[in-house]
């Protein structure tokens, strides 16, 4: 039954001859999209051939972001200037289209159906891979973790908008998982011809929402998510006319799409094995490896080393002495701690009345607790973050400052490349030099902690901390 129809739609004679302007438009679009999909940067190929593991190889195939121009303005990172690379790609497309048209002027090509088909395949797989990789980040809800205690204790006005956007999703874990499933499903639908229209429609909508939200909340992923909107709209083009005729003009329609014919057994085997290895690799294998990377290798945004047992919570600083001098609680003191928080993991934070530079990183997942900086990203309010190692036998905490070093915007998409380079350099040499603090701690009772030692200014600190009971409305159901 299916056989005659396939050969019928495959006979090129049955397809109309394209007009000259259609051919020119196709040539421009073909090159434009190719430039956006196929990496031109040799550095990108290095990541393909020298991956850290098979997962990172697969991962590098899913996330290429065309970037032809290094702009350092704020607008390049958060605003419209970020789209400059699209303009350049379009320029290359136009130029290429003109050259191609010149060389093809004597050839009488009826149409580019075949090339168009393969371009669509390329675009479909590009979207599918990218979205599946996106989706798994939320399916294993690690892209937006549940807010840390220090974040629950931060005033709304002391938040950066992008952190508000991310954390809102993190507040409801199952909602994040469902969003992940939608992205994965939208990707999978594009692996198959018959579900391409539905998949492209879903993806155009979902990714438009993500792109606009990224502009609205300064999330800095707007250009990359817009890329998928562009690709999805491109996929929808051939369906528009048929849909219009059928539903608006209310006339019967016979759709005609070109598909290559796998007419021999060998061709069939090749086509289907390549296709299904792609599908298998980027759904099941990728999903398993991604799980392993996050939960076994620990590429996460929040630290995982547990803190001291039963210590998590917020503490009132009942007594605070610096060099033996007692300071009373004062919300406008730049030295005296206002409160101390121990997270469930090995992070200690205290709050003072002092301006600090705000980390604008998205909190890239990291292998080391020290560099897992999502908890301190995008919030103000004078809070210092320390990673600590506890020597429970001696009662000593070895602390390392997270504000100055931890992934200070390790984000490669940052506009402030000079600052990153500096931070990296500092990180490289500072590993040993940078002062670790060593504080004694005692726990006279379950709800009290006493800390003493030297701070980074070599002043002696003594603090009595009493736990405050908290019952956050946000976790009320």
């Amino acid at each position: 039954m299916g056989q005659p129809t396939t050969s019928e739609i495959n006979s090129t004679g049955a397809f109309p001859i394209w007009k000259n302007w259609e051919k020119f438009l196709f040539r421009v679009v073909f090159i434009f999209l190719l430039v956006l999909i196929v990496p031109l940067d040799p550095a990108q190929y290095k990541t393909y051939f020298h991956p850290k593991s098979f997962f990172w190889f697969l991962s590098s195939l899913t996330g290429y972001r065309p970037n032809f121009i290094q702009l350092h303005s704020d607008s390049a990172r958060w605003g419209l200037a970020g789209y400059a690379s699209w303009g350049i790609a379009l320029g290359i497309g136009l130029l290429g289209g003109i050259i191609w048209t010149f060389f093809a002027r004597k050839k009488h090509t009826a149409n580019y159906n075949k090339l168009y088909y393969w371009l669509r395949v390329l675009v479909r797989y590009r979207i599918a891979l990218g979205l599946i990789a996106f989706g798994f980040l939320k399916f294993y809800p690690m892209q937006m973790p549940y807010p840390a205690i220090s974040n629950l204790e931060t005033n709304w006005g002391d938040y950066n908008t992008y952190k508000i956007y991310w954390q809102q999703v993190g507040v409801s874990t199952w909602y994040e998982v469902v969003l992940g499933i939608v992205e994965i499903a939208g990707g999978i639908l594009l692996f198959f011809r018959s579900t391409t229209a539905l998949g492209a429609l879903i993806n155009a909508g979902v990714l438009y929402n993500i792109a606009h939200a990224n502009i609205a909340y300064d999330g800095a992923v707007h250009v990359y998510s817009s890329l998928f909107v562009l690709f999805s709209l491109f996929l929808l083009v051939p369906y528009i006319k048929d849909l219009y005729t059928l539903f608006i003009k209310k006339e019967d329609v016979t759709p005609r799409h070109y598909y290559p014919l796998w007419n021999t057994r060998r061709k069939k085997i090749w086509a289907y094995s390549i296709k299904f290895s792609f599908v298998f690799l980027f759904t099941i294998v990728y999903g398993i490896l991604r799980y392993d990377v996050h939960y076994n290798q620990g590429y996460l945004k929040d630290p995982v080393t547990p803190g001291l047992p039963k210590i998590a919570g917020i503490y009132n600083v009942s007594t605070f002495r610096i060099n033996g001098k007692e300071l009373p609680y004062d919300p406008f003191d730049s030295v005296r701690w206002q409160n101390v928080i121990f997270e469930k993991w090995s992070t200690l934070t205290y709050k003072v009345y002092k301006p600090f530079p705000i980390s604008l990183a998205n909190g890239t997942p990291n292998e080391k607790d020290l560099s897992r900086s999502y908890e301190l990203a995008g919030i103000g309010g004078g809070r210092r973050f320390f990673y600590y190692k506890a020597d429970t036998a001696k009662g000593i905490l070895i602390l390392q400052d997270k504000n100055t070093r931890a992934g200070w915007d390790e984000d490669a998409r940052s506009s402030d490349t000079a600052a990153i380079a500096k931070a990296k350099k500092k990180k490289g040499t500072g590993e040993k030099d940078e002062g670790k603090l060593s504080w004694h701690y005692t726990r006279p009772s379950e709800n009290q902690v006493i800390l003493y030692g030297l701070n980074d200014q070599k002043d002696s600190i003594y603090a009595v901390l009493d736990k405050i009971k908290r019952d956050y409305p946000i976790s009320k159901n």
């Binding site: 605003g79 931060t154 709304w156 508000i164 956007y165 507040v171 939200a213 300064d218 329609v253």
Partner: protein, 445 residues
């Protein structure tokens, strides 16, 4: 033999029965059968008509009756609708033998009703998003509330409120466009598609953040799905099977009086929403809705440190744990004071319905879902300030107010238990990362 004949009958009856069941069920949900709805209708004062009145008129929530129920529980009324529809459809199948002849007409009639019901919802919600009335810009008190002290729905609303680049209004425009497309038979599918897209997310968010609109959002999504399902076979044939697809053949014809009536109803519907949008715009621009409309103390708006706090003559120093002392105070631009009191405040768990009929103290949006600050409406008479708790409507404090210098406020008076209070407030020039930290690196407290 008898068995076989029965089997054939049964199959022939199943399709009309299912259709009739669906028609009755959707009618029960759509027609306002709840007496609640008519009470609201009766309470509208034509002289003081407010966009909220029109909103409620256009958005009957099926079986709201089960007040106080959350999540799936609030759908209890729907099981009655299912049972009732089952019985009604059984009777209908038994006695109406000509249904097959009128089937197309019934279906068309139902679709018209559902299209307009869905359009009404999309237009009324769309405009409140467009004018940022649903999720208004955060009040100063919100900026001084800790993240963990909001209920999840408030987090959702406040998050939407701080978006820039016309994000919220764009969602509104999509809803309005979807609603407008539903008004015409030929574009109804696109409208229903946009509606389904938006509503899937709205339904999920309602359950994830307990926004309080679970019932109506699920109901609207159901309508959108029913409308799309009508074109389902055609979509499947065209897009999945990619085969020849026949267009819809049914074409309703209106003549004479019917044509006039149809046009009149359509015009009435459009006029209704023009009136709605106009009233809403006035609320947005003049009335400050949903915040109170009475202006606050001249020049007082701001964030204040509680410099000194004397209770019955005893000075109480700064403290993070003293439940008798105030930590900080916010004067809103309108007549609201919110106090960070260092103790758990009873949280108002109401959801933000577009139904606050009142003015002044009844406009409680600012205090809903906030578990940290206590909100007081205040009245000024000369130098005298009366603070009324927004949660229970009772007088909480009586103060004499002095303003010796700029940014300084002295309050002297009593709380409701008769304790004597002397409070010195001093204004803090607070910088907010929320506003400073947009699109550039920043250093701030």
């Amino acid at each position: 033999m008898a068995q076989a004949i029965y089997a054939v009958d049964k199959r022939e009856n199943l399709r009309p029965f299912l259709l009739q069941f669906g028609i009755v069920f959707l009618l029960i949900l759509t027609l306002p059968l709840d007496r609640h709805y008519y009470q609201t209708l009766g309470s509208i004062q034509i002289g003081h008509i407010h966009f909220q009145d029109l909103f409620q008129l256009a958005n009957y929530v099926p079986f709201l009756g089960h007040a106080g129920a959350w999540g799936w529980e609030s759908f209890a009324g729907w099981s009655w609708a299912l049972a009732l529809a089952f019985v009604a459809a059984a009777i209908w199948t038994r006695y109406d033998k000509t249904f097959i002849v009128h089937e197309d007409g019934w279906q068309y009639g139902l679709r018209v009703l559902l299209r307009y019901r869905l359009a009404a919802a999309l237009l009324s919600y769309g405009f409140i998003l467009l004018f940022a009335v649903q999720a208004p810009s955060p009040a100063l008190s919100d900026l001084h509330t800790k993240y963990g002290y909001f209920l999840p729905w408030k987090i959702y609303y406040e998050s939407l409120a701080v978006s820039s680049a016309g994000y919220g209004p764009t969602l509104g425009i999509f809803e309005i466009a979807g609603g407008a497309l539903l008004l015409f038979r030929r574009t109804a599918l696109i409208g229903a598609g946009i509606a389904a897209f938006l509503l899937i997310n709205i339904v999920l968010a309602n359950f994830a953040y307990q926004l309080g609109d679970e019932v109506i959002s699920v109901y609207l999504l159901l309508i959108a799905i029913v409308l799309i399902a009508y074109d389902g076979p055609r979509l499947y044939q065209l897009l999945f099977r990619e085969k020849k697809t026949a267009a819809e053949k049914f074409n309703p014809v209106f003549r004479g009086r019917w044509a006039a009536l149809r046009l009149a109803l359509k015009a009435l519907f459009v006029l209704f929403f023009i009136a709605y949008a106009t009233l809403l715009y006035r609320s947005y621009s003049v009335d400050k809705w949903p915040y109170p409309e009475t202006p606050g103390l001249q020049g007082a708006a701001g964030f204040y440190d509680v410099r000194h706090f004397r209770l019955n003559g005893t000075d109480r120093p700064y403290s993070l744990v003293d439940s008798l002392r105030w930590e900080d105070v916010v004067f809103e631009k309108w007549n609201t004071i919110s106090v960070n009191e260092n103790r758990t405040t009873p949280i108002n768990e109401q959801r933000p319905a577009i139904a606050f009929q009142g003015t002044g103290i009844e406009r409680v949006y600012e205090s809903l879902g906030n578990g940290q600050r206590s909100f007081y409406t205040y009245e000024v008479k000369g130098d005298h300030l009366t603070l009324i708790n927004k949660n229970d409507g009772k007088t909480a404090y009586e103060f004499d107010i002095k303003r010796p210098g700029s940014g300084q406020i002295l309050l002297e008076g009593r709380d409701k238990a008769g304790n004597m209070l002397q409070i010195e407030l001093s204004k803090v020039d607070k910088k907010y990362l929320l506003y400073l930290g947009r699109r550039h690196p920043v250093k701030v407290y």
